[in-house]
């Protein structure tokens, strides 16, 4: 019978290795579900209220079960906090009449960047000002990093960033970020939600 195992765009995550350095920690977070949620025209605030989605650009909303990143007027990328096969259909059900839901669970990988030199590493490719006076916990943005489009979410007041990268670019992005992290030394982990 066929092999039904889900394959991560970075391949076998156990095979990914750092160089033992301590400057940067790269954690491949996986097992989450996600969807792009759109409001029906004119129902933006009704949908935001119903799903408890924040509407301030650049500010994530975090709940016990999900993280919502506003990506455009009336549009959010929503991520589950744990593996939940019913997450997207739950969103669709709740948004009925107010919005639409496009499943995107497989379209992006998540690389969590942390460690004492995380902010410096980010400056090598990210054009945004991630200084602590400008970006704290909950900061989010879509922006190209190196040459790859990234949806960035700062998950802590310290410099800890979840970088969501399109699956097709996963290996290229991984190549860039590990190459860049070599100057700081880096470790690699994976985290299954």
């Amino acid at each position: 019978m066929a092999d039904f195992a889900a394959i991560h765009p970075l391949g076998d995550l156990d095979q990914l290795q750092g160089d033992g350095g301590e400057g940067i920690s790269l954690t491949v977070v996986h097992g989450f579900q996600s969807a792009q949620v759109f409001a029906v025209s004119g129902k933006e605030s009704a949908l935001a209220n119903k799903l408890k989605l924040g509407t301030t650009p650049g500010v994530a909303t975090d709940s016990r079960t999900m993280t919502a990143l506003p990506v455009s007027p009336g549009q959010w990328m929503v991520f589950s906090k744990k593996q939940d096969g019913a997450f997207v259909s739950m969103l669709a059900k709740k948004s009925n009449g107010l919005g639409h839901v496009s499943e995107q669970s497989d379209s992006r990988i998540c690389v969590r960047v942390s460690g004492p030199q995380a902010r410096e590493l980010m400056s090598r490719g990210c054009r945004l000002d991630l200084h602590k006076s400008k970006a704290g916990k909950g900061f989010c943005a879509q922006t190209p990093t190196a040459q790859v489009g990234v949806l960035l979410h700062q998950v802590d007041d310290a410099a800890v960033y979840d970088l969501y990268v399109y699956s097709g670019f996963a290996r290229s992005f991984w190549h860039w970020i590990t190459h860049t992290a070599e100057q700081f030394g880096y470790r690699v982990n994976s985290l299954r939600l």
């Binding site: 650049g58 054009r127 943005a141």
Partner: protein, 97 residues
């Protein structure tokens, strides 16, 4: 390098945008004349000074951003969403131009 203030994302580098040309052109109604469509499709002024342009924020929120920009000095006067009305400033650009 330009820095463009996207109404949704805030100030971003020029490389995140795709320049999409003249934003003063309004698409004619479907039943308008061929001449009206010809004008909409092909006829462009090339003003020296203030101009209203489209900068599509492809690297960010993917909004079509309207930008009032000085083609001579590159100064950006104002930006707005796709349906915003942005009058040209009466003043000269910074640097007296």
């Amino acid at each position: 390098m330009h820095r463009i203030d996207c109404p949704w994302c805030g100030e971003r580098d020029e490389v995140e945008f795709q320049y999409q040309g003249d934003a003063t052109k309004v698409r004619p109604k479907p039943d308008a004349s061929e001449d009206a469509f010809f004008d909409y499709t092909y006829q462009r002024d090339n003003p020296k000074g203030w101009h209203t342009e489209w900068w599509h924020h492809v690297g960010g929120c993917r909004q079509w951003v309207k930008v009032v920009r000085n083609t001579l000095t590159h100064e950006v006067h104002k930006t707005g969403g796709p349906q915003s009305k942005l009058p040209l400033p009466r003043r000269k650009a910074e640097g007296g131009l």
